[in-house]
């Protein structure tokens, strides 16, 4: 199974503004992919997702990576000559363990995200800033909040899945793993 992304038709994509809300400067309508992790809905900008694949379809292409410091990343996948680190979104957000069925491969960023399922694509009227009262890791996780179909949905920040220093750790671990793999071949 290879789910493909298509632009929603005008009458299918639901755009929603909070009741009584006037359009505000700095907020722009955008198309998002709505996905679920452990029964929690999230949104991600559609243009930050390059591909959506089933985990079954990628099973042969994934390589394990050992990094006890970052348990949310246990695999890499190679796409178009680049190595992507696969982040378990449930662990990233501290949600209960699930069995992810899909991988969102991000665009312009060497990360892919394991999620349970895709709900749909939708157009949101804009992204509300995260209230200042939220001061934890969510400030890195989310670009803000969207109000869609009477629900407040966090809009994830793609770069929040892996911090630069986490990339560095993973790159080191990945390099070591590749060197270990290559060593027997050199000896032979």
């Amino acid at each position: 199974m290879t789910p493909t992304m298509t632009k929603p038709s005008a009458n299918k994509a639901k755009s929603s503004t909070a009741p009584g809300e006037k359009p505000r400067r700095g907020r722009h309508p955008e198309t998002v992919v709505l996905f679920y992790v452990a029964n929690q809905m999230f949104a991600i900008a559609a243009d930050s997702v390059q591909e959506i694949r089933s985990t079954d379809g990628l099973a042969g292409a994934a390589n394990e990576i050992e990094n006890p410091e970052l348990p949310k990343v246990r695999h890499t996948i190679d796409r178009s000559g680049r190595t992507y680190y696969v982040v378990n979104a449930g662990q990233h957000f501290g949600l209960p363990v699930t069995r992810p069925a899909l991988v969102l491969i991000l665009r312009q960023f060497r990360a892919a995200v394991l999620v349970d399922r895709i709900d749909r694509m939708a157009e949101i009227s804009g992204v509300h800033p995260l209230p200042l009262a939220f001061t934890g890791e969510e400030r890195r996780w989310y670009r803000g909040l969207a109000y869609l179909d009477d629900s407040v949905i966090p809009v994830v920040e793609p770069t929040g899945f892996l911090a630069p220093q986490e990339f560095q750790k993973l790159d080191r671990a990945h390099k070591l793993a590749r060197e270990r793999e290559a060593a027997p071949a050199v000896q032979a």
Binding site: A18, E21, P131, A133, F134, T135, E138
Partner: protein
């Protein structure tokens, strides 16, 4: 609802809204009160900020809901869960925050007295109402920076 709005509009420095949160009867400076909202849906999503329950949508704004339960105890029955929306100072900025209340509130006037030394950070002072001495809440203290202190 309009009564609260009226209270807020005409509030003076010595005006307080007396309300029930959990098992406590407390007061809040009326000048900070924006609205008493009906029991609208509480939206939750993953976060790591202590003492926040989620957010509600009110008049087009997404308003964080402060979880007072760890310090003030008791949860109001859902049918009685109204939201008192008030202005909070967070760092250099202010924004609206909501706390759950059972919907009963009244206006009281008086002069707030400083809190005793051993009172937690969420108590801004005390207010004498009849025979009662009520804690006046400092909502600004219900923030991540003060969460440890508040819990004490």
């Amino acid at each position: 609802m309009s009564t609260i709005a009226h209270i807020a509009e005409n509030a003076t420095e010595n005006s307080f809204v007396v309300l029930n949160i959990g098992h406590h009867r407390v007061a809040l400076p009326a000048t900070l009160v924006a609205e008493l909202a009906p029991p609208v849906r509480l939206h939750t999503f993953p976060h790591t900020t202590p003492m926040l329950a989620g957010a509600i949508v009110r008049r087009g704004r997404i308003i964080p809901v402060i979880d007072t339960e760890p310090v003030l105890g008791g949860k109001s029955p859902l049918s009685h869960r109204f939201y008192l929306i008030a202005h909070r100072r967070i760092g250099q900025d202010t924004e609206l925050g909501a706390i759950t209340v059972n919907g009963e509130c009244e206006l009281a006037s008086g002069e707030m007295q400083p809190p005793a030394m051993d009172r937690p950070a969420y108590v801004a002072g005390t207010l004498a109402v009849g025979d009662e001495s009520l804690d006046v809440l400092n909502l600004d203290a219900f923030s991540a920076a003060n969460s440890q202190e508040v819990r004490l």
